[in-house]
Amino acid sequence: MIELIDTNSSQIAAEFVRARIRAGSPAMGMVMTLIIVTDEASAHDALDAAKYASHEHPARLLGVILRDPRGPSQVNAQVGMGQGFTGEVAVMRLKGEVVRHCESVVLPLLLPDSPVVAWWPTDAPEDPATDPLGRLAQRRITDAAAATKGKTTALATQCASYAKGNTDLAWTRITPWRALLAAALDQQPLRITHGCVEAERISPSADLLAAWLEDRLHVKVDRRVSAGPGITEVTLDTREGPIGLHREDGKLATLTSPGRPDRPVALKRREVPELLAEELRRLDEDNIYAAAVRRLMKTGADR
């Protein structure tokens, strides 16, 4: 990584080109720009996650670390490429007045004509779609479960400001659960009369899962509290008996369904890099998520 002190976008862009030539001009197979808005503490993990995801989606990674907005402006950057991942990376530390105009630093560095994704690994703005950096992206990824402040309301905040292109990793986390439940219903197309999702007290994923089930099945889905980890059980009642997916250790679940033997299924809690890779696979609006969010807003208002 090359350090650039008190720099600007054009110098960073020039460094990208130099780095590419130094590396022997490998093909520019990058498919997107990923803006990572983070603080100093979580920057390292976030970049590692993004590098993992770039194995599947070669990207230009732009880490943006916003510091104290008071005092004179300064942009410092580290630029590099290719060590153990596909693509390029620049980590930019902004302080002073420029913090309020951070999009001016990022805009010139977006790859031409390819998608832009913004990701807030921990605390996200209340309305990502109108955030200066979020506005540059067509896909905005938040993570309600990783919020450091206002954990209980983080998901509700994101739901309230939902706009096309927003998604939350809490939703990504439940894809395997949803897949197994859908597969269970493929095998036994039974009518569901009532449902229940059991999870830790604060679990945005469980809230979304319950909302999704309610939205799709048009039945009441209760949300119960357990000791965790994460989601521990989903039960869908039918006249023939319950279809259940039960997981105590966060790894191996048991699928039960009426008239069938109990079956073990691997259902590991996935780490952020995997979640991010899944999230980047589709860059269009997630309509199913939108419907679950609407449902969650409605039940939230009812309660």
Binding site: A27, A183, Q187, P264, L267
Partner: protein, 506 residues
């Protein structure tokens, strides 16, 4: 009709998980099972694509218990699986392992197999859906398929399915292929027979279709107006290794050209399918294969060779005739090249050169579409001396991707034009995370999704193309020797030189 309220075509995150089912592997001790099939099954389970209750039954002539079989699978997964080993995934799978010992003509063993499958339907909920993977030499297909029929294993009950998976070689000539198809088709209806050509499961091969039919950039030049010729190469740097028993008498043309290379030719040369489904793709592929023609003079338009001792990649290696288990008098070719024509309006006059061989310069599979030279060059002859023909190269393996070769000005004050390459790579590390061909194909078998499997008509058409060449060679004595580690015999170069062309160094 979609009755499942949890499914929605817009919900593209949800993966396709196969319905309840099991897989029975014949020949579990073989290389194919241990290196490819079993690891692929684990990888599928690890990615959450196998149904809960999925069961794996091994059948072989070994005195094993279920635990011994479990150990074999465990070792093969540990050694060859693409994804990391996770205990919980293993536990999900291992519960469904069963082993049935016996010979292929042993009635008691097949009866035990039937009972095992029924037991699995009961305890694992496989629902009567089972696929039979014949990872065994084709000589045994007849007896195994016959036994499956005899013991009622080939008949699905109501609302369930039975499928059979077979691997190449699909015969050794047209007649034997027909016979083989007949044996299998007699028991399994054609929609339930899955012929695995693992090349078709590769991302790049599927990408040929995406590249050709999802873009507007390439199709206008994809014809005889612009294309000079096409070279399809599959080269291996290894010798036959321990496969003498299989390879001797088969040879490069039957082993590779008949299936992989002709399938690649079909994908490159076919017209647009009306839809991206099995039926439409097969129809178009069959049309191309039907229009393939051989040149009149086979002696001038084909070449074959046998590697002899030499140095390959810095190692001293032995020749084909010195390999263990090969007769001194063997005329089996380890290198084969043929020139084909495609008699359609699009391709008339464009030769397709196919070549494959062992102990060649390096391991590579690629399709190179070589374009005609520009009709007029407004530069001086010296300026374009180093400019050859434009080419579009689809790299199938390794380093999957695409290269476009074109002329560019050499920096400097004089006008000098030279070939440069523009590369698209699936990404250096991307290939790690892209699924193995076998994963894709096994999942497709379990889902009953056949677009990537050649139909028996295609197999027969391919033999129809190859048979005259094989007959010609059979009459012509020994293949020409070529030194290991080189790009094949001199006759192959002469074959292109006659047309005023040269092989690309891939």
């Amino acid at each position: 009709m979609n009755l499942n309220p949890l499914r929605d075509p817009q919900d593209r995150r949800l993966p396709r998980i196969a319905g309840p089912c099991g897989l029975v592997i014949f020949g579990v001790t073989g290389d194919l099972s241990r290196r490819k099939v079993m690891p692929a099954i684990y990888d599928l389970a690890n990615r959450g694509l196998l149904p809960p209750g999925f069961s794996l039954v091994g059948f072989a002539r070994r005195d094993w218990a279920d635990q011994d079989f479990e150990q074999i699978v465990h070792d093969s997964v540990k050694a060859h699986a693409r994804t990391e080993f996770r205990e919980e995934v293993w536990r999900q799978l291992a519960d469904g392992f069963r082993f049935v010992p016996g010979d292929f003509d042993d009635d008691a063993a097949f009866d035990a197999l039937r009972r095992t499958i029924m037991e699995l339907d009961d305890t694992r909920g496989t629902g009567g859906n089972h696929a039979f993977y014949l990872a065994i030499p084709p000589a045994f297909f007849g007896s195994v398929v016959g036994q499956l029929k005899k013991h009622g294993l080939a008949d699905p009950g109501p609302g369930s399915w039975r499928r059979v998976v077979i691997e190449k070689p699909f015969g050794h000539d047209l007649e034997s292929a027909r016979e083989l198809n007949h044996i299998v088709d007699e028991v399994f209806p054609s929609g339930t027979v899955f012929r695995i050509d693992h090349y078709l499961g590769k991302e790049t091969v599927q990408n040929i279709l995406a590249m050709r039919f999802a873009n507007n950039l390439f199709e206008p030049v994809w014809n005889s107006h612009y294309v000079d010729h096409v070279q399809i190469t599959m080269a291996e740097d290894i010798g036959i290794g321990g496969r003498a028993g299989y390879y001797d008498g088969i040879g490069a043309a039957r082993d590779v050209i008949q299936n992989h290379l002709l399938q690649l030719l079909a994908l490159v040369a076919m017209e647009d399918p009306i839809a991206f489904d099995a039926e439409s793709l097969r129809t178009e592929k069959a049309k191309v294969l039907e229009s393939v023609s051989l040149p009149r003079r086979l002696d001038l338009a084909t070449a074959r060779g046998q590697y002899v001792a030499g140095w390959a990649g810095g190692e001293k290696v032995i020749g084909f005739l010195e390999e263990e288990g090969i007769e001194q008098s063997s005329t089996t070719e380890t290198y084969a090249a043929i020139k084909l024509g495609v008699q359609t309006r699009r391709w008339a006059g464009v030769p397709f050169y196919l070549r494959t061989g062992k102990r060649l310069g390096r391991r590579v599979t690629e399709v190179a579409v070589v374009f005609k030279r520009a009709p007029h060059l407004p530069f001086s002859a010296t300026a374009t001396e180093e400019l050859t023909q434009n080419a579009l190269v689809i790299r199938v393996q390794p380093d999957e991707g695409m290269t476009i070769r074109f002329g560019a000005k050499v920096p400097g004050t004089t006008m000098e034009i030279r070939d440069v390459n523009m590369d698209f790579a699936y990404g250096g590390s991307f290939t790690e995370s892209s699924p193995e061909a076998y994963e894709r194909l096994i999942l497709d078998v379990l889902l009953g999704d056949p677009p990537l499997f050649p139909r028996h008509e295609e197999v027969e058409l391919s033999w129809q193309i190859l048979d005259p060449v094989l007959d010609h060679w059979a009459r012509k004595g020994r293949p020409e020797p070529y030194e290991s580690g080189t790009w094949g015999p001199a006759s192959a170069d002469a074959m292109l030189a006659r047309d005023g062309r040269v092989w690309r160094r891939p």
